[in-house]
Each structure stands twice: as C-alpha cells, then as structure tokens.
C-alpha cells in the first residue's frame, strides 16, 4: 500500500494540470463566482439627505441587515422599478417649522417598510449611554453560501481527473503492470483514491482558509465543520468517478458523466438560490447528492451542531460506499477478463 501511495503521488505529481485543478483552481473559481453570483437576501435602501442633521441618515445606515445603495433623487422611481432598491428615504427640512421631513418612497410591497419607518421615527442625535447591551459577534461580512452549490460541482467534477487517470492507466497497460507486481486491484484503487483525497482536501482547505481570511461568513459556530463536509464531498467524488471510470472506455466519455454532475448541480441551486426554484426543480434537486450536502451545511448553520447534518452525511456516505464497492468490483472484473 505504501509503495502504491508513493507511486500514485509521483504519478499525480508529474501531472501539474491535475495538481493545479484540484488544489488552486477551486479557490480561484470561488473568488470569481463570488462576483458572478451575487445573490443576497439583504434588502436595499437608499438615503438622500438634504439637511445638515445626520440623525435619520445615521439611524438608517445603522440598521444591520439592510444594504445601503447610493442613488440620485431623480432616479428613485427607476431604481425601485428595476428592483435595485426597495425604498428610498429622502430627508428635507420643513422651511416653516425647521423639522426634518423624511419621505419614504416605495412601491407599496416592501417587507421592511415598517422597520425603516420605525427607525426614522426614533432617530435621535442624543449620545446618552445605551441601556441595552448586546453580545459581540464575529460573523463574516461576505456571503459564502451563494457559491457553495457551484463549489460542490467543482469539487465533485474535480475527481474526473482521477477517473481519467484510471482509464489512461488501463489503456497504457500501466495498471496491468502494477497488478503483475502482486499488488491487488483494491490496493491500486485505494492508493490512487487516497492520494486524490489528500490533494482535494488540501484544495478544500485552501478554499476555506481563503474564505476565512477574506472574512466570508460561514454561518457556523465552528467553520471546521464546513471543511469536514467538503471532505465528505471529496470522498464521494472520488468514489463516483472510480465507478464512472469502469463504465466508459475513454477519457472523453467521462465528459458525459461530468455533464450529469453539471445537470444535478443546476437542480441543486448552482445558478439560482434553491429556495427560489420552481417546485419541480426543487423536487429533482432533492434527489441530488450536492443538495444533500448543502442541506447538511444549512442544518449545521441553523442548529449550531454538527449532528444536525448526520442524516445528509449518512446518505452521502452510503452512496459513496455503493459507488466504491461497485467501482472496485467492476474494476476487478475488467482485470479478470483481461487475464
């Protein structure tokens, strides 16, 4: 086994494209997709202040959970029409009384109108000591979950390289030579899988590390849970492509399998937030492993405990075992047919 791992490490090590695609590319794609898929559930509000009094402006700017967007007064209707903002608060001074007049422009269907109105009504400049103390929070500022379904697609699809290498070995009869040296097929597959698993986990770790450094919000008590879930994904992806490699005869044919992964990623919310998808799409998505992982991560976030993801981990792990057992069995069969 040790020799097999060393050999596999050397094989993978020679293939720079493999190392790059499994370790660095996911992180680069993550940063790119953060920009390309900026979905958010934050409400957007504009504040236009024509007075010197900053109380109302500061009060609205101080509401956590809403996004302040810059806007010009003559563009308010257009921006609300397009959905860029939900509300706009224009603050003027009443020339007669000198009081602040806050006009809240809206289209009549905002969820946060009342909250903003309340904040405006209670806005004050007084700097008295607060009688309410709030515990601190170190949540990240950027949304990590937008890109998660895409990243899962990338991590799962990443193992296509492992599948391609197994097929290439088969074609070049390298695998046959390994078998002739009394190494069992199980050891051969295990060695390859372990090396792939270590490399992909390194890639996942790098992704999590960059996420943490760049202040992305994991939404979890312990962000390590996020990494552990990704390790399960890497294990699943390896077993899936070991199985897939026994179904096809060429590296090109693996593209078809990757298309299947892409389709399931689509139904799992890769391009749009899953919650907004039509019922039929959601129903299909619920049968996809990517969705199970996302659901598991969401459960950890909501409940605060890792055990909340056990049902989803169980499902993924079972599927991993099934693919691995069938994959190894079929692999043995292919070798036995040869000899």
């Amino acid at each position: 086994m040790k020799n097999m791992i060393v050999t596999a490490l050397k094989l993978f090590g020679r293939n720079k494209a493999f190392l790059f695609s499994v370790t660095i590319i996911p992180t680069l794609l993550f940063l790119l997709m953060t920009v390309l898929l900026p979905y958010t559930k934050k409400h957007s509000v504009s504040v236009i202040n024509h007075t010197d009094d900053k109380a109302i402006e500061n009060s609205i700017n101080g509401i956590d959970g809403i996004n302040i967007v810059e806007a010009k007064e003559d563009k308010i209707a257009e921006l609300i029409t397009r959905g860029t903002i939900e509300l706009a608060v224009v603050i003027n001074e009443d020339p007669e009384t000198g009081f602040a007049v806050a006009q809240i422009y809206n289209s009549g269907d905002s969820e946060i109108y009342d909250a903003v109105e309340l904040a405006v009504s209670y806005a004050s400049d007084s700097s008295q000591n607060s009688i309410t103390s709030v515990n601190s929070s170190d949540r990240g500022t950027h949304n990590l979950m937008n890109t998660l379904p895409f990243m899962l697609y990338k991590f799962i699809e990443g193992a296509s390289v492992l599948g391609a290498m197994i097929i290439a070995d088969r074609k070049k009869h390298i695998k046959d030579r390994i078998m002739l040296s009394c190494i069992s097929p199980v050891t051969y597959i295990s060695g390859m899988t372990m090396v792939y698993f270590i490399c992909s986990c390194f890639g996942s770790g790098l992704y999590c590390l960059v996420g943490g450094i760049m202040n992305y919000d994991f939404g979890m008590r312990y962000p390590i849970h996020y990494f552990i879930m990704l390790c399960f994904v890497n294990l699943f992806s390896a077993s899936f492509y070991i199985f897939a490699a026994t179904l096809v005869n060429s590296e090109e044919s693996l593209q078809g399998v990757s298309t299947l992964v892409l389709i399931s990623a689509f139904f799992s919310g890769m391009l749009f937030p899953f919650d907004y998808m039509p019922k039929v799409f959601k129903m299909i998505g619920n049968y996809c492993p990517q969705r199970w992982i996302v659901k598991g991560i969401e459960n950890i976030q909501v409940s605060g405990t890792f055990s909340a993801a056990f049902p989803q981990i169980g499902l993924v792990f079972t599927l991993t075992l099934i693919f691995l057992i069938i994959g190894v069995y079929r692999n043995n069969k292919i070798i036995n047919v040869r000899y």
């Binding site: 101080g62 956590d64 860029t84 949540r139 749009f272």
Partner: protein, 372 residues
Amino acid sequence: MFSAIFKKDFKLALSNPMHIGIIAIYPIIIIIVFGFTMRNNMDNIYGTFDNTKVFYYRDNASDEMLSKFTEISEIISDKIGVEFEEISDYDKACDEVEASKAYAVIKIEADGYDYFRSDFNETYGGDIVRTLFVELSNNEANSNTVVQNVSLNIKKVTADVYYTFAGLGIAILFLALVMSNSFGRDYSSGTIEKIMMSKAGAHSIILSKFTCGAILGLIQIAIALSLSTLIFNIDWNHNLGMIIMVHIVMLLFSLCFGLMVGILIPNKMTTYLAICYFAMLSNYLGGSITPVYLLERIPILKYIIKISPIYWTNQSLTNLYNGTNDSKTRNCIIVLLAFAVVFMAVTFLYTSSKSKSISANAGYKNQEAIQP
C-alpha cells in the same frame, strides 16, 4: 439569382439543429425557467420576518424597565409581527436562539436590557429587530420628525417580464452565430468564391444572408413575446411598439456583427468561439442571467456592465415597459444602429475587395489557361 442564393442560405440555416435551438428553443427555455425561478427574488420577497420570535427573561427587572419593554415590544410586534415570549430558563433560551428557534433573548434587568443574539447564525431579520430594539430602548419617538409615506404608482418589473427581455436578448445575440456559420460553410465549400465570380455579385451574398437572418430573428421575437404573454399573462399596454422596435434594432446589431465576423474570419470554429464568448459575456454583463440590480451592487462590476449592449437594451426595455420612453431608449437605438452601420460597412468593404481580388485571380488564371 438572388432568390436562389436566399433559398440556399435559408435551407442552410435550418439544416443545423443548433440554429433551430437558438431561434425557437433558447428563448422559450430561458423565459420559462428564469421567469419562474427568479419570481420571489425579483419581487424582493425573502420572508425576512416570517415566523419570528424573541424571548424575554426577567432578572430583577425594575418597573421602569418592564414598562418600557412592554411599550417597545408592542411597537415592534405591531409593526413587524415579531412575537415576544417570556421564558423561565435563560440558558435553555440562549441555546434555542443558537438553534435558530428565536432571534434573541432579552434579559430585563434593573437598569437596562441584556440582548443575547447568536454570534454565528443571526439572520438579516434578526439583525433588523436587534437594531430597532436598541434604537427604541435608547430613544423616545422624535416628535420633531415628520415621516411621509410616498407610495409610487409604478409597475415593478417582474421576473416574467425581465426574463422575457433577457431570454430574447440572449437568443438575438446568438443569432449572429447563424450568420457567421453560414459564411463559414460557404468558405469551406468554396461556394463564396463561386458566387462572387457569378453575375449575382458579392453584395447579394450579404443581402441574402441578412434577409434570412432578419426573417429568423423576427420569428424569434414573435415567438418569445407571444409565448411570455400567453404563459405569464403580461400586459404590454405601454410602448409595445417601441419594445418591439428596440428588439429589432438589437437584431440588426446582432446580424451585422455576425456578418462581419463571418466574412472576416473564414475559420468556422474561430468565428463560433468569438461570437459565443461575445454573446455570453454581453449577456452576463447585461443582466440576462444574474439580474442587473444585483450586478449594480458590486463595486467594480457596476461600471463594467455598462459596456454591454444587452445592458443598454435592458435599461431601455425596463423603462419602456413601465411607460417611460426617455433618452435611454433613444440613446440605445442610436448607438446600436451606429454599430450596425459600422459592422455592415466593414462587411461590404471587405466583401468588395475580396470579390475584386477573386475576379482578378480568376482572370489571371484564365489568361494562363488560354496561353499555350
């Protein structure tokens, strides 16, 4: 002669299943899938305050703090719909907050409030309620502030309408592929040289392909607009004529771009990739996939998106749908037409020069053949 070339181009265009997909299937899929998928997101319905609860716990609470808390909780409950529930086990309540069962636990003390929220999974709704509670507990209602509700009588662009425009935009831009592919096939089969040397002349090739593309594009626009009207029951009362006009101008832009790329680059695969990249980038930046209002919130991207022709048409169509026929539409039409003219001029000039060189070569070869 022209009709023969036109027939050939039309058959050529329809012989490729991908072209049928671009003309009829792409817009339909995008309109239906995106229209239904993004409905809640574009309506800004996120369920921010759905099933919300805040726990409170008395810990040597003074009467003053209690009465103030009652007042605040009634206001927040009345305005936002948050339910306030008294609990007896503070630690258990904190655990429940961390398990997302409630936004927070407020401990009412003798001289203030201790607000406990989850430090890792507080929702946006929880953020808002917390901010308001802190504000309301520290300040009295400001009687010097007049709050006015200005409800705008506007027709917000729904996902159905938005993605009708977006889907059609994607499909129209990809129509450039039909043009370039037609040239690519003519190049590879040598037909283009034969036609250039014939009486039909070089310009009839362009005209024929353009007419073919225009007919397909008009069919595309008709299919997409009627389909979305039928499925989503969209009311096109405002500026339907102008909406169709903007689409036609975009069609002209796309066809001329496809013709130019097709004539300049003989290699089919290169033209295919060039147009695909252009169309995908323009569509993404123009908001055909991710709604433009989300792209506008991203610091650098909000400037980059303005270079996309789809962004201009998107802005124009949105305004037209809402009954505003302003400078955005005028500018969009002028700029797109100007580009179309430039592309067409390049196409004509290049075709003329190519035709001349082919004729000259042919004459030279004929002379060589005649001489013994």
